[in-house]
Symmetry: C2
Subunit: 829 residues, 2 copies
Amino acid sequence: MTVATPAKQQPLNADELRKIHAYWCAANYLSVGQIYLLDNPLLQEPLRLEHIKPRLLGHWGTTPGLNFLYAHLNRIITSQDLNMIYIAGPGHGGPGMVANTYLEGTYSELYPAVTQDALGMKQLFNQFSFPGGIPSHAAPETPGSIHEGGELGYSLVHAYGAAFDNPDLIVACVIGDGEAETGPLATSWHSNKFLNPVYDGAVLPILHLNGYKIANPTVLARLPHEELESLFVGYGYKPYFVEGSDPETMHQLMASTLDSAIADIQSIQREARIHGFTKRSRFPMIILRSPKGWTGPKEVDGKKTEDYWRSHQVPFSEMASNPEHVKLLGTWMKSYKPEELFDQNGKLMPELGELAPRGERRMGANPHANGGLLLKDLRLPDFRHYAVEVADPGAEMAESTRILGQFLRDVMKQNLDSRNFRVMSPDENNSNRLNAILEVTDRTSTAEILPTDDHVAPDGRVMEVLSEHMCQGWLEGYLLTGRHGFFSCYEAFIHIVDSMFNQHAKWLESCIDIPWRRAIASLNYLLTSHVWRQDHNGFSHQDPGFIDVVTNKKAKVIRVYLPPDANTLLSVTDHCLRSRQYVNVIIAGKQPELQWLDMDAAIKHCTTGVGIWEWASNDKGSEPDVVMACAGDVPTLETLAAVDFLRCHLPELKIRVVNIVDLMTLQPNTEHPHGLSDRDFDSIFTTDKPVIFAFHGYPWLIHRLTYRRTNHQNLHVRGYKEEGTTTTPFDMVVVNDLDRFHLANDVIDRVSRLGNRGAYIKQIIRNKLTEHKQYITTYGEDMPEIQNWKWQYYNAPPVEKQGSSMIETDDGSTAPSEAGAEGTASSRS
Amino acid sequence: MTVATPAKQQPLNADELRKIHAYWCAANYLSVGQIYLLDNPLLQEPLRLEHIKPRLLGHWGTTPGLNFLYAHLNRIITSQDLNMIYIAGPGHGGPGMVANTYLEGTYSELYPAVTQDALGMKQLFNQFSFPGGIPSHAAPETPGSIHEGGELGYSLVHAYGAAFDNPDLIVACVIGDGEAETGPLATSWHSNKFLNPVYDGAVLPILHLNGYKIANPTVLARLPHEELESLFVGYGYKPYFVEGSDPETMHQLMASTLDSAIADIQSIQREARIHGFTKRSRFPMIILRSPKGWTGPKEVDGKKTEDYWRSHQVPFSEMASNPEHVKLLGTWMKSYKPEELFDQNGKLMPELGELAPRGERRMGANPHANGGLLLKDLRLPDFRHYAVEVADPGAEMAESTRILGQFLRDVMKQNLDSRNFRVMSPDENNSNRLNAILEVTDRTSTAEILPTDDHVAPDGRVMEVLSEHMCQGWLEGYLLTGRHGFFSCYEAFIHIVDSMFNQHAKWLESCIDIPWRRAIASLNYLLTSHVWRQDHNGFSHQDPGFIDVVTNKKAKVIRVYLPPDANTLLSVTDHCLRSRQYVNVIIAGKQPELQWLDMDAAIKHCTTGVGIWEWASNDKGSEPDVVMACAGDVPTLETLAAVDFLRCHLPELKIRVVNIVDLMTLQPNTEHPHGLSDRDFDSIFTTDKPVIFAFHGYPWLIHRLTYRRTNHQNLHVRGYKEEGTTTTPFDMVVVNDLDRFHLANDVIDRVSRLGNRGAYIKQIIRNKLTEHKQYITTYGEDMPEIQNWKWQYYNAPPVEKQGSSMIETDDGSTAPSEAGAEGTASSRS
């Protein structure tokens, strides 16, 4: 195996070499200036302590490498009129990204106060990592960035996400050798098995080996050359090496390497676009090995600094106490010869300014990096066409996500031509019962496909890989460049991307205050195969806590929906697909379940987000004895079954049933825009009646959302509590006390006037639970009366007041007959 | 590059071949039986519907491969007397793990009801994925397992964690090709750069390519042979290929491959142990390519099943409606010839039983897989020796984690010989200021080391890699095999391992009910570089939500500590290092901060976990006007500064200061063993006075923990709310309203009797905040009065009641003088 060899070793003539080097120097100068200077930006006066920031923040080490690459990418963009964006994996090199977008003019266009003159340069320096200024990392504030410099690991998946369905785009993606150690990055290299050169653009990964992290050597920098090469050949790339530190040699080598790499890309694309996709091609990648803190001070106070971890952040400080450091900074900055780079007024010399691409070809101004500019609405079929017929509540069964699959199929179909919608899943699309989507497209793969494979094709639009990180990262990249998507995942394992969600939500939060960032499509999660139905898998697959993580983020950017059945799921999903700039979390089961609302009712219910289910309640025209609230499909089922049980056995009890589909309605409206006013909340939940709340997730989330409400002290929540180890659906809720019997028991406990009658019913409940346990340990499935339970009251006549003494009595030693109650029920089972 | 070639192609003679095949058949038979059968375990009667479980659950596809490997590993353990454990990455192959530990006798020893006869076999079948039975995945209940089959991706890091410091141990680790797509697994291969054959055992990774996940082909199975080989050579291994489906050929190939691989390992170890470590060796790994659902039905209802994704779970069901399926199951199970494997009574034939290793050599009985058996207490120095001298509260400054580093250094030192303590960090050990540890050991690396590297050595015990996944996974593997560890991490990025924490916590939760599992050392996190002090990094590095994830798990296994200073941090850490079977989360900043408690007071405070700080309070002998509570170092500082401000300006106000170091004390004692009784809680927080609570994390966590407390409606919590974007420490708290001025303002708002005097102080507060903003945007650092603030009251005389009218007045238009208040303060600044 040999190293890929660049085409021409000396592509730059002397003048080109001089200029590209000067451009790099200018970017380096501006980067150092941002980290260090408050004033005297052009060093036209001798550098003094008062020109230097009192607190020195930011990261230098990675920056010169980022600047080197930016300059060379500019060159090839200009020479070949390329459409390219730049992703800085080492986003802590923020000063470099800012410096380059300033040099090319984008920065001043977006931030007019930061002019291209000495005053503007001073402002550029001042604002960096300064109160009221800009972050030290690449961030939403940074022109041309779709990638936050924060948690490392996602540059390459973002790059691929951006490249999908963008055939003209080349995404240059710098991957730090620290970042390369992360798990998500290590698997991201395999994204090349999902990229189709006919329809997709290209990613040019540039692994930047600068040898050190914060304090340690990096793993990849210490691999022998042949192992490193073997690794990337194994990942399916054609690796080019650019190694060294002598600027002249490195400029020539990088220029020739980029010429070759871009030629490789173009050749692969030409071939595929003329002859169609045949087999996965070996795309180029570049391994740049250059010193950390390149061009910075070689030593500080006698200690190795360049090409060492000491360059990672601010290479030296203690300016007030050490005048030598002030001198050293001056020498360092002067070494870039600012007087040759900028004119007296601080404007970049015209011959250098010419090196930057023009207009939208500038990487800071490329509209793909501000995806909202390119975003087009999805064409959406009318979701009402997919409605499950629900003649009466609970009369039908359906698998909610399977129904949703039909809607998503047609969403996919209607947007096939625009190529701006993809569905992601970690090998769970069919397990999550979204199979219908595969009627109109396939799963994506540009790897080997066997004739026996099931709906796998190089131009498939369902992206399945067993990595939640890749699904999430691809989708983020895809959305940030102005497209739409949908991510279905097992609920428990979405925690794998907690921190990626956090970063994306923070991105959206920051964008609220950045007027030039246009709104992008929301990130839509469907969490299914959820905690309550892990029949095949059990305890290890049970964790409903993702919404706890989600609700920590700003109300402005997050939405959580718990549709109780298929029609509400359709309505909610339609809403989410139309929305912008949110993270939408939808939680819905895939198993066959009773259906409650017809489409009209579903739309109404989803529009308000929370409501009294009159058809299930019997408190009409009066205050209820108890409110039974539920959020989530299984909790809704169990609540209705409890209501059924109670209405059979205690027909006089006035029960109000409340269902919550939009979880954010529970919060005060001062906390979340969807929140109910206290008045509305009180009118639904009462101000003093017991509320038994059956919740899909960990119970305390409901307390956290409602603790300021009037009636909070009467709220009793049942949810998941890490007690699930069993394998039948009903037993799962019994073990967590969220089942119909425990809920009914809660009601009896809290409605004090039930007396002995209540005690009698509680005995029935205990017997039921014993019977249940015996049955399942014998047969391994739920009792038929549980499995086949249906809602009885949908068409029952209003219950007449009879035997009210039965409820109010508090001393009878024998329990009254239940005949009356049974008699009013019209059973369908 | 050529494939590693096994030593001898036909190592098994005819009899050995027949027996090892039969042993494999027995394991397969028992695996199928677990998935399908309720009765008739030996198929001594014709198979009928009623012998089959009504609900069919579990996973077949990966199981025959796991069984094949188990049989062959047994062979080499026996032939070479190896000390080996088995990690099943595809842990959904639970039936295989159970079957093998049953065959070798371990299962019946640990679960005496599951005897090695027909009755026991029936019980073995019945219990599988059955209510009241065992999980379908490998789990804590599974003998010999240290690895939960749930979320995929961690088998290889667990394996390496187990191998570190276990020189005689070989960890056979099966990695599924689905699992191999995950990020954590993709980077785990690089663990070989951290394993030292002198002191560590070996990992034998076996990549099992069975081609399909739930519904998709796998990425690695579709790589061309030479790419796959190149990839693993690039990762630094010597790959052996075992490919095929013909059992006879495969048995010979696997046997000869294992002979070679073990010989390679032994040769590397011998060389290193005789001559010392010189350079990283190329350890063997095996790529087993075998059909998914191997030996299962080739087709079901005319559809391809063996060697296809349809084998993934239960390959066919619908038994009641399809009698052909019953017949198919019978044919399939009979194909293993149970009558030749088990005697009439259901006992494994003696000639097969002999194939299993004996005693603790059995992989199900190896004590390394029940690490508590091997666990020895750490030798701990007296943490009080590292105390910061605190003559008076707030008189000293210290970097808490730097102090802790000295303690950890000596913990490391005292346990160097026992080699049972490691420290993990994602390249942050020194950034987190635990530098002192490197005085007695180095960072681990068996990759190339340069002379300029700083404390990097092949036998270092500080494990740094830029992957939180690897740190966490290594540590889990290390703890589960009976050792101790400590993991320091930036607070925001610990979310990367949320889901790994969840899995480990569930493991511990499950162990509570498994008497034969011995308690292991707790998993100890130090979260530092925390949300409030991200000066270099800003918003992207701010997320204090890990504790929200942690507190979702069972109270029995989780502990959260927020020590406010160095001495409390020492006390808490000592406690955590002694504890067992918990996850301990300690949150403490690394920046220089004022120190509050001397060591005696710190120990007392940490022992109770929560307490009134009398020295900061002025409510002695009476009810306070307000309780100012705080949890976390920065909130404590701001609270005390607010108290200082209020006592200066409103000396008559009676303030009680409460500090919480053990967060779990806030929960009711019915919810958490550390929880305060309501009585104690009320006596500290009062039943009716306003409580201003300054909290390190998201504020609602405090509400969630306290919503049942008497005085909850008067609790006002300030914490982090996704508003932090700035770069000076004090501004960070101001932006989040957690600063001294907002806290003081809250008090004034809630103590109603302050009247105009309060209004006047509020005006001072507004001025201070304006002044602050102007100062930082000019100078980029906090105002001197903020930077240099110190606690004034530690030795102040008790404040005399004077001018109480000043507070009680409600109508004065001019504010009274502050001289009196200022006069009582003895300023140290």
